[in-house]
């Protein structure tokens, strides 16, 4: 390749990336402008009488209705959510989530935002992973016994405020118990954000049982409009949540916005099985067995029918990877789990 063509190619790549980032930021600016004018795109559509439709499983509904319907589904399933996950996947979802945490491989000092984190599976694994890492660090480095674990708070210091007043304060607060001056590392933090209060309540109960209630902050919020400032988290995870949103692109843009430069977007979601034999078995199991399990265990056929249909409606691995690239993430890759039943998509904001 000549000097000129190489330069042209480089310019083209840069412009495409700029285009993607600009598209994302334009969307953010546009949505903020709409909000300030007290007029959302849905309302303008309604006025014109042409409301866009989207899918709810195999059903077709208006976009404005989808959030409410998904909310209703998760309010119904919240109490039996974990039991049903174990029953439907025969416990394999635990292995998926363990692998997810392995891929993320967070270091102590990571601020994690777990969106659609509901009952807290990912967040609790994150906390345990960090604690394990810190234990290893303590053992590895000399003089480690003099360093305090930032996730454990001294009783006298933490007594006055046990509650973090707001997510912003939480994210930017630095607890400097360590004054040895080795490094001014940040503390590991995890925030669970979910649109459904019932799921968060179930998660809080679980946290109490596991003794992790002080290590997590619970926030109610919509993944399409996160109540967090720009560049505030180091890692953004969303496990089995992104297929339920109305606008996947908006969620990806929001993820891009709240991540710090160098931050990682990690998504665990059901995906397409490419092997045709496995695919037939999987489809048979999904449509014949899962709604029946829903009826037997949770007395709710329809929610689990929605679940298996929404999996079919979600884009496949490559299409979703392309959507992540469109949002501005780089080094986008994916890993299939159980031959494509689930997939971990990863992207970096660099």
């Amino acid at each position: 390749m000549t000097y000129k063509t190489r330069n042209m190619a480089a310019l083209w790549c840069v412009s495409v990336r700029l285009g993607r980032v600009c598209r994302c930021s334009n969307r953010i600016i546009a949505s903020r402008r709409n909000l300030s004018e007290h007029k959302s795109s849905d309302e303008t559509d309604k006025e014109e009488g042409t409301e866009k439709s989207t899918h709810f499983g195999f059903e077709s509904i208006n976009e404005s209705e989808k959030t409410g319907k998904v909310h209703e589904v998760f309010s119904n399933v919240a109490s039996k959510y974990d039991v049903m996950n174990d029953a439907m996947s025969l416990g394999v979802h635990r292995l998926w989530k363990d692998r997810f945490m392995q891929v993320l491989d967070p270091l102590p000092g990571t601020r994690l935002l777990d969106v659609a984190g509901g009952t807290g599976d990912i967040a609790f694994r994150f906390i345990n992973w960090i604690k394990e890492k810190e234990l290893q660090q303590k053992k590895a480095s000399p003089g480690a016994e003099f360093r305090l674990n930032p996730l454990e708070t001294d009783d006298s210091e933490s007594a006055p405020d046990l509650e973090f007043p707001s997510a912003e304060d939480y994210l930017y607060s630095e607890q400097r118990e360590d004054t040895t001056g080795t490094d001014d590392r940040k503390d590991s933090k995890v925030i669970i954000c979910d649109i459904n209060q019932s799921m968060l309540e179930v998660g809080k109960e679980r946290a109490k049982k596991l003794g992790l209630e002080d290590d997590v902050v619970w926030v109610t919020g919509n993944a399409e409009e996160l109540p967090f400032p720009d560049n505030s988290v180091d890692a953004y995870t969303i496990a089995f949540g992104i297929r339920n949103v109305t606008h996947i692109e908006k969620v990806l843009c929001e993820a891009y916005r709240v991540l710090t430069p160098g931050g990682r977007f990690l998504c665990l979601e059901f995906s397409q099985v490419s092997n045709p034999l496995l695919s037939s078995v999987y489809d048979l199991y999904s449509f014949q067995v899962i709604p029946v399990l829903g009826e037997l265990i949770a007395s709710d056929w329809k929610s689990y029918q929605y679940l298996v249909e929404s999996i079919r409606k979600f884009p496949n691995q490559e299409e979703f990877a392309e959507m992540i690239r469109e949002a501005g993430f780089r080094m986008v890759s994916y890993e299939n789990l159980t031959s494509g039943v689930a997939a971990i998509h990863s992207g970096f904001k660099i």
């Binding site: 014949q288 029946v292 009826e295 037997l296």
Partner: protein, 295 residues
């Protein structure tokens, strides 16, 4: 596509349809789900899956199911019901999935009787909106209605707690089983049985003989597993023989417009319907119920 025609599309999207009554399980789901979108969906109905024979729902809350799903539901609901008797919806599901032929028989019995025909055409419902419980409370003691509300209050139940019918694939049969479910509490009143496990087993035995529903028979046979040996003894020696006798002798209760007979004295109504009174278990049997005396 007509629901009962065999349609062969190109290989990847082939959907084999057979009438569900033959019980042939339709073939595998085609890989692409989008071919399903050609069928227009109303709110709340999605069929069994994206490749199975898609029958439209026949009534509100109807959930079309394949034979495999019905089999799975039968086994699963039986297992859940026996391990957790508080799951009344599981017993309801069991009744729906196994009761097809029994319901046809009951429906034919109802069609052969003038009052039964009236019930089938009027489709009366029994819940707090259609039955005025305050009016029943005002009735004199000893009447059917007064005994019914007393029974409701004593056992802390309400006529509103019945699960909707979901898995019966015929609209009229769905009404028949709903009618059966709603007059179940009236059976309790007529037989004088409480809602504890012993009373429920007895009523199930009565219903098994009277209606022929397999779910009732299963409940009567497997329900006593959860009882103590003393209760099982009572059941075997007193309650079950009486329930069987009452089940055979009673006039077909599905053909009786029970909610119009609340004002009648209970004993007269029972005599009219040929329902004998519950057996009296002598107190001394509690002490005599030792291994030596038990048959």
């Amino acid at each position: 596509m007509a629901a009962h025609s065999r349609v062969f599309l190109p290989f990847r999207f082939a959907i084999l349809k057979t009438p569900q009554i033959l019980g042939v399980h339709t073939r595998f789901i085609p890989p692409q789900a989008e071919n399903c979108s050609r069928i227009s969906y109303n709110h709340g109905d999605r069929g069994t899956s994206n490749g199975e024979e898609w029958t439209p729902p026949l009534y509100r809350e109807h959930q079309p199911t394949s034979l495999f799903q019905k089999a799975l539901l039968t086994v699963g609901s039986a297992a859940v019901a026996i391990t957790n008797p508080h799951r009344h919806d599981m017993i309801a599901v069991l009744g729906e999935t196994t009761g097809y032929y029994a319901l046809i028989r009951i429906r034919d019995q109802m069609k052969a009787d003038p009052v039964g025909q009236q019930i089938l055409s009027e489709r009366p419902r029994i819940n707090t909106r259609t039955i005025d419980l305050e009016e029943l409370r005002a009735l004199p003691e000893g009447t059917f209605g007064k005994e019914y509300v007393n029974w409701l209050d004593r056992n802390d139940v309400t006529p509103d707690s019945r699960a909707p019918v979901k898995f019966v694939d015929d609209e009229e049969l769905a009404y028949v089983i709903r009618r059966y479910r709603e007059i179940h509490d009236l059976f309790h009143t007529l037989l004088g049985m409480p809602t504890n496990m012993l009373g429920e087993c007895t009523v199930k035995m009565f219903e098994a003989v009277h209606t022929g529903l397999p779910m009732c028979a299963m409940g009567a046979v497997f329900g006593p597993i959860r009882l103590s040996s003393k209760q099982r003894w009572k059941l075997r020696n007193y309650y079950f023989p009486w329930a069987v006798k009452a089940g055979y002798s009673a006039k077909c209760l599905m053909n009786v417009y029970l909610e119009r007979r609340f004002h009648e004295p209970l004993e007269e109504l029972k005599a009219d319907l040929n329902i004998p009174s519950p057996p009296h278990i002598p107190k001394s049997t509690d002490n005599n119920n030792t291994r030596l005396n038990r048959r």
